[in-house]
Structure formats: structure tokens, C-alpha cells
């Protein structure tokens, strides 16, 4: 009873609101309602309706409580009037004045005016998913929602049920794209609190290569809640570099799943950086469906105030001779909390697997918390796996050495913290993007060491 009273205090029930929203959306569909895509949506919605938002009693959500998110009166993309975000605003968020394929999404809605794509040709499609699903229907039907399984994952189900918009990137066989793709997501919270659900599909066919930066911002004084899903199909011998950066403000919530499917000899590398946002949960899963694949997961979380960032990763070794390496690092100050759960699954057939994992943390205050959990499940007998987790404070001998050369306390800390995370930042292979990230890190460090 008491619990009910609490929940009703704000008069908002986000789950109920989403169910109503879905019904009214369905009633407007007319002829489209019977299509395959809508069948998928309805199925996904039934999964969400059954389970609702994740709660802490679920093992996978043990440390992350989404209930603060539920108290906000979010507007959905379909209810929002046009955003007044302009080109000048966008300039603040782009990292390169030069050649980049820029896709801009505001509150989850594609903005063709603010986007600029320069690489499209018969082998390359970079655009919105609503355009791509028509122009590249066969590819879309073959891959869409084939990897991000939403059963038992209610947030992915919710995303699949609504599926308003997102990026669609397709590289045909043997296409090397050296001009990076920048997927820029902005929550415009100037007038309303905003709920958006970006859905991206990236299909990289055999022998192709791509660099993708996906980042998230919020602009305005209200809250935002982002529930994103990105699916990757990495074809044989393809090469994918993917970066996800969370720059939202302290009123933002972000949950997301990046689901990767890797074919034989493919190479996938992801770097996830979280320094903005209030509550963040990232799921990064890669399934190795061919031999000799390689996967790298890099992560950095830089937290202050009451921020809470939860990274769950899975390297799913299904086939022999695959390699996965994971390096996540955290700097946690004030009352902030970090969660790292890295799972390595080595299935029966995955002999000669090499899987490594490391998670290092520096806690800058007595009230900072890290929950770090390696999870190795190994069913093959000829494998090499290792994991390690550390957490500690800055090294006093190093601090004294640096100070003894005239460098003050904050600068000494900053120097050591930058050194601590340098191997994670080195994973970013788009040079201009890396410089941009380093500048942001400098600002965030100042904030943490204030």
C-alpha cells in the first residue's frame, strides 16, 4: 500500500503512459498495421507490457535503480513540436569542420536540414532508417531486429515497439569508407522533458571498413530519457571502429544496448565513454558467429556528483579461434557510483579462444563507489582467459614526486588521471575526434577536482 502511495505521488506512471501511447499510435496506422514490421512492434510491445521497466531485484539490474526516471513527465517524440535547434547550435557538437558524414537526430527524429552526407554512392548508404528501409529494403529486412533480441530485455522490446527513427548505415562488399560517420543525437529539453528511442542499424558487408562516432547531448533545462538500440552486422573480414560518447547533462537518463553480430575474420572495436548524465546503463554485446573474429571493448567513465553509470558487456564466443579484449577504466569522485559487469562466455565449440578483460578504477572520495564484477563462463577446455579488476586511490609516491617538481595538487592529480586513462583514449582512431574528447576530458577533470 505504502509503495503504491509513493509511486502515485507524482501522478505519473511511465509504463501506463507508454502503453496508452502505443495504442493511440496503432490506431493511426491504418493500412500499415498488418505489415511485418508492425507485427514485430506488437510482439515487442507485448514483451514490454509483460515485464515493464527493469527493477533492482533482477540480477542484471542489481545495482541500477531506474525508479528516479519514472517521476518525470516525459513528452514523446510524436507529441513534440519542431525543435528550434539551428546550424549554429550544431557547430558546437561537431568535431570536424572537414570531411565527415553527419547524421543529426533531435529528440530521436532525423533532421535532414542539419545532416550532411558526402560519401553516399551505389555501395554506400548513410541516412535515416525510414529512408533506408525503403531504398535498401532487402538489406533492411535481412538484418533489422535480427540481432538485438528483445525477449527478456524489456528496454530493447520497448525500443523495438516504438521504433520511430534512427540511423541506417550500409556498406556493400569490399567498401572501405575512411570518411567517418558521425551520428549526433540531441535531446532538446528547452520546453519539455523528452523521451526518445533512437534505433540504429549498421550493416558492414564482407571486406568493408568503417569508422562511426555516436554521441549524445542534451540541450535545455528539463530532463531527457534516451532508450537506444544499435545493431551491428559485421560481415566476413570487415573492420568496424565504433565510439559511443555520452555528453548529456546531469538531468539526463540514458539506457542503451549495442548488439554486435560478427562473422568470420571480422574485427570490431568499441569505445564507450560516459561522463554526462545522471543514470546511465550501457549494454554492449558481441556475438562471435564465425572463426577467427576479433573484438575490442574499451570503456571510460568519469563521474562526479551523484552520477551513476552501469556498463554491462558480453563477449559471446560461439566459434573457435576468436579473440576478445576488454579494457574499462573509471575515475569516480564525490558520491558517484560505477558498475562494471563484464561477461565472457566461451561456448563448447569455441576452442582456442583468447579472451582478456581488465577493469581499473580510481576512487577520488570516500563516498565514491564501484561495483566491479567479472563473469567468466567457460564450456570449452582449450582456452586462454584472464580477467583482473583493481580499485584504489592515486599513488602517493607518484603524487609527491610530481609535486616536488613544483606542480600543484590539482594539476598533479590531473596529470596522473590523464595518464591512467590514456590507453583507453588511444583506442580512438579518428584523430580529430580524439582531440575533441581530450578537451572534454580536461573540462570534466576540472569539474571532478574542483
Amino acid at each position: 500500500m505504502e509503495n503504491n502511495l509513493k509511486e502515485n505521488k507524482t501522478g505519473i506512471d511511465l509504463t501506463k503512459k507508454l502503453i496508452n501511447e502505443f495504442q493511440s499510435y496503432q490506431s493511426k496506422l491504418n493500412g500499415d498495421a498488418s505489415g511485418n514490421l508492425n507485427k514485430l512492434r506488437m510482439d515487442a510491445m507485448s514483451v514490454f507490457e509483460k515485464t515493464g521497466f527493469p527493477v533492482k531485484k533482477m540480477e542484471e539490474w542489481k545495482y541500477t535503480n531506474l525508479s528516479p526516471v519514472m517521476n518525470h513527465d516525459f513528452k514523446f517524440s510524436s507529441d513534440l513540436s519542431d525543435s528550434d535547434i539551428t546550424q549554429a547550435d550544431i557547430d558546437k557538437y561537431i568535431f570536424s569542420a572537414g570531411s565527415v558524414n553527419l547524421l543529426v537526430f533531435i529528440n530521436g527524429i532525423f533532421s535532414s536540414e542539419l545532416s550532411s552526407v558526402i560519401s553516399n554512392n551505389e555501395s554506400i548508404f548513410i541516412g535515416s532508417i525510414s529512408e533506408g528501409m525503403t531504398s535498401h529494403k532487402e538489406i533492411f529486412d535481412k538484418h533489422y531486429s535480427k540481432y538485438a533480441d528483445y525477449n527478456n530485455r524489456s528496454l530493447a522490446a520497448l525500443n523495438t515497439a516504438f521504433f520511430p527513427e534512427g540511423a541506417f548505415i550500409y556498406l556493400k562488399k569490399n567498401t572501405e569508407l575512411n570518411t567517418p560517420v558521425h551520428i549526433l543525437n540531441i535531446s532538446d529539453t528547452k520546453v519539455n522533458s523528452v523521451f526518445s528511442q533512437p534505433r540504429n542499424l549498421v550493416v558492414i558487408e564482407e571486406g568493408s571498413k568503417i569508422f562511426i562516432a555516436e554521441d549524445y547531448y542534451s540541450a535545455g533545462d528539463n530532463s531527457s530519457f534516451t532508450n537506444m538500440v544499435t545493431e551491428f552486422y559485421c560481415g566476413k573480414n570487415s573492420h568496424t571502429e565504433h565510439y559511443k560518447i555520452q555528453n548529456e547533462d546531469e538531468r539526463s537518463f540514458h539506457v542503451g544496448m549495442t548488439q554486435v553480430h560478427q562473422e568470420q575474420d571480422s574485427h570490431f572495436s568499441n569505445t564507450t565513454i560516459s561522463w554526462g548524465g545522471s543514470i546511465i546503463r550501457n549494454d554492449l554485446n558481441s556475438v562471435f558467429d564465425g572463426t577467427n573474429t576479433e573484438s575490442h571493448f574499451f570503456g571510460l567513465y568519469l563521474l562526479s556528483g551523484k552520477q551513476h553509470v552501469d556498463n554491462h558487456t558480453l563477449a559471446d564466443h560461439k566459434m573457435p579461434n576468436c579473440f576478445s579484449n576488454e579494457l574499462y577504466k573509471g575515475i569516480i569522485g564525490d558520491n558517484a557510483t560505477g558498475v562494471f559487469n563484464g561477461k565472457i562466455m566461451v561456448r563448447e565449440d569455441a576452442q582456442k579462444t583468447n579472451a582478456y578483460q581488465s577493469n581499473g578504477n580510481i576512487l577520488l572520495s570516500d563516498d565514491a563507489t564501484i561495483y566491479s564484477k567479472p563473469q567468466l563462463e567457460i564450456f570449452a577446455d582449450d582456452v586462454k582467459c584472464s580477467h583482473g579488476a583493481t580499485s584504489g586511490q592515486l599513488n602517493e609516491d607518484e603524487m609527491f614526486y610530481i609535486k616536488s617538481r613544483g606542480i600543484g595538487d590539482k594539476d598533479a592529480k590531473s596529470l596522473l588521471l590523464k595518464a591512467f586513462v590514456s590507453d583507453v583514449l588511444d583506442s580512438i582512431k579518428i584523430e580529430e575526434f580524439k582531440v575533441n574528447i581530450e578537451e572534454k576530458m580536461e573540462m570534466k577533470l576540472k569539474n571532478i577536482l574542483k
Binding site: E396, D397, E398, F400, Y401, I402, K403, S404, R405, G406, I407, G408, D409, D411, A412, L415, L416, K418, A419, F420, S422, D423
Partner: protein, 257 residues
């Protein structure tokens, strides 16, 4: 330049406090080189730590006046900005921080504290090249992480290189000779000798006389059980080399009687 009066200090350990310095008196003037010798555990390195402000040492009595200021009131970085430098007995490795970045940050912080503009990259690189020659530092070492993967000799040379870059007024060399072969010792000593001037001073802490053949001191002090028990000229070092620290036992016996 430096006046130490009746300095007493203890260290705080998990097994309780331990009094290490039991009343040190020492005066260092510009242009002078002082050697501090003594057996292990006599408090030589503790003196270096107290003078540079390392945590974990508590001054229980006495004072240290440096350039008219109460040195013990200053943080380690403030002491460095005032011109005090410690060449560490065990230089610290700092993975991820390059020598270049480290020194540039240090120099510019020191300049900032004096109200000076930061050094330009061109000026800095020029200075680095010049000073690197003093102690045979390969240019390749400068871009490497501070002391990471350096041999014992390279670490000690790097300390003297940093000294050359920061141009301190008072340098304390803490067992800089330990772990050096004779060639490396000559290089390090040669560097120090080139940096000596009428305006700066050196305190050379060493266990052995060997280093003092190359860095010739004006004064030699012998420390024992937290006190300076003898002071003399450079010949005292030679005497110690020949007779060892036996005289200390005599002192002790006398004291006990």
C-alpha cells in the same frame, strides 16, 4: 640560504611513532656544497624528506628558515617553486606521463607562481636539447614516460636532467651515487659540477666517499642517530673512507660512560 636549527622529526608508522631526527643544526650558504654522510639508518634520507615536505614526517621541534621564509609552512610544490629540488634516491616511474609533458608542466607552474608567462614550445625544446647534453640524455628518452623502463643509471641521470631544467637554488641529492657504475657516476657528477654556481647550493647525501671525488664538497657532515656528530672539510670524507665509521662507536662508548 638555509638554516636548520635543532630540527627534530618523527615518522608515523603502523607500529607507532619513531623519532628519527634528534636535533639537526646546519647552515648552507649560496655557492656551497655540503656532503652529509653516515651509516644506514642515521636519518640522512629523512632529513631530505622533511626538507622537501614529504607526507608522513612530523616535525616535533626546531625550525628551518629558507631565504627568510619558514620552510616547514610550505607545501611540497611551493618549496619547489621557491627553488628547492630533490634528486630522489629511488626515482618514481609515472606511466602515461611523458618526460616532455612533465617538465613543461613543472616549468610553467614555477613560472606562473612568479608571475611569468609560460615558456613557448620553441624555447622549451631548445632548453631541453641543451640540458640533455649535460648528462648524456638521448632525445629518445625525453618522449618516453617518466622513468618507465629506465635503467638505474638512466633514472639517476634523468634526476640530474630535471635539476638542470628547473634551475633550483638549493639541490638535495639523495644517494644519487647508489647503483651507479663508475662511468655513470662521472657523467652525473660532471653534470652537477657544470650546474654549480655562486648563487646555488648543493646538499649531497651519500653513504660512500666515492662520489665526493667528483663532486668536491666544502663541508662534510657525519650523521649518526639523528644528529650531526662531526663536521669537517673534504678530508673528513677521506678519513671515513679509510677508517670507516668506527669513530662513532668511540663516541658512543664515551657517551655511555
Amino acid at each position: 640560504m638555509l638554516t636548520i636549527k635543532n630540527l627534530k622529526a618523527k615518522i608515523e608508522t603502523s607500529e607507532g611513532d619513531k623519532q628519527i631526527l634528534k636535533g639537526i643544526n646546519l647552515t648552507v650558504n649560496p655557492g656551497e656544497t655540503h656532503a652529509i654522510m653516515g651509516p644506514n639508518g642515521s636519518g640522512k634520507s629523512t632529513l631530505a624528506s622533511v626538507l622537501t615536505g614529504r607526507e608522513g614526517y612530523v616535525v616535533t621541534e626546531g625550525e628551518v628558515i629558507y631565504d627568510g621564509k619558514d620552510l616547514l609552512e610550505l607545501d611540497p610544490e611551493e618549496r619547489a617553486r621557491e627553488g628547492i629540488f630533490l634528486a630522489f634516491q629511488y626515482p618514481i616511474e609515472i606511466p602515461g606521463v611523458s618526460n616532455v609533458n612533465f617538465l613543461k608542466t613543472a616549468i610553467n607552474e614555477i613560472r606562473k607562481s612568479k608571475g611569468e608567462e609560460p615558456m613557448t614550445s620553441v624555447e622549451f625544446l631548445k632548453m631541453m636539447k641543451e640540458k640533455a647534453k649535460l648528462v648524456n640524455i638521448e632525445p629518445e628518452m625525453l618522449s618516453r614516460y617518466v622513468n618507465v623502463g629506465f635503467s638505474g643509471g638512466e633514472k639517476k641521470r634523468n634526476e640530474i636532467f630535471q635539476l638542470a631544467m628547473l634551475e633550483p637554488k638549493l639541490s638535495i641529492l639523495d644517494e644519487t651515487d647508489s647503483g651507479l657504475d663508475i662511468d655513470a657516476l662521472k657523467i652525473v657528477a660532471g653534470g652537477v659540477n657544470k650546474l654549480k654556481s655562486n648563487d646555488n647550493a648543493f646538499i649531497v647525501i651519500t653513504h660512500y666517499q666515492r662520489l665526493l671525488n667528483y663532486i668536491v664538497p666544502d663541508f662534510v657532515h657525519v650523521m649518526y642517530e639523528g644528529k650531526i656528530v662531526r663536521t669537517g672539510g673534504k678530508e673528513l670524507a677521506l678519513e671515513l673512507e679509510e677508517n670507516g665509521y668506527d669513530f662513532i662507536n668511540d663516541l658512543k662508548e664515551n657517551a655511555e660512560i
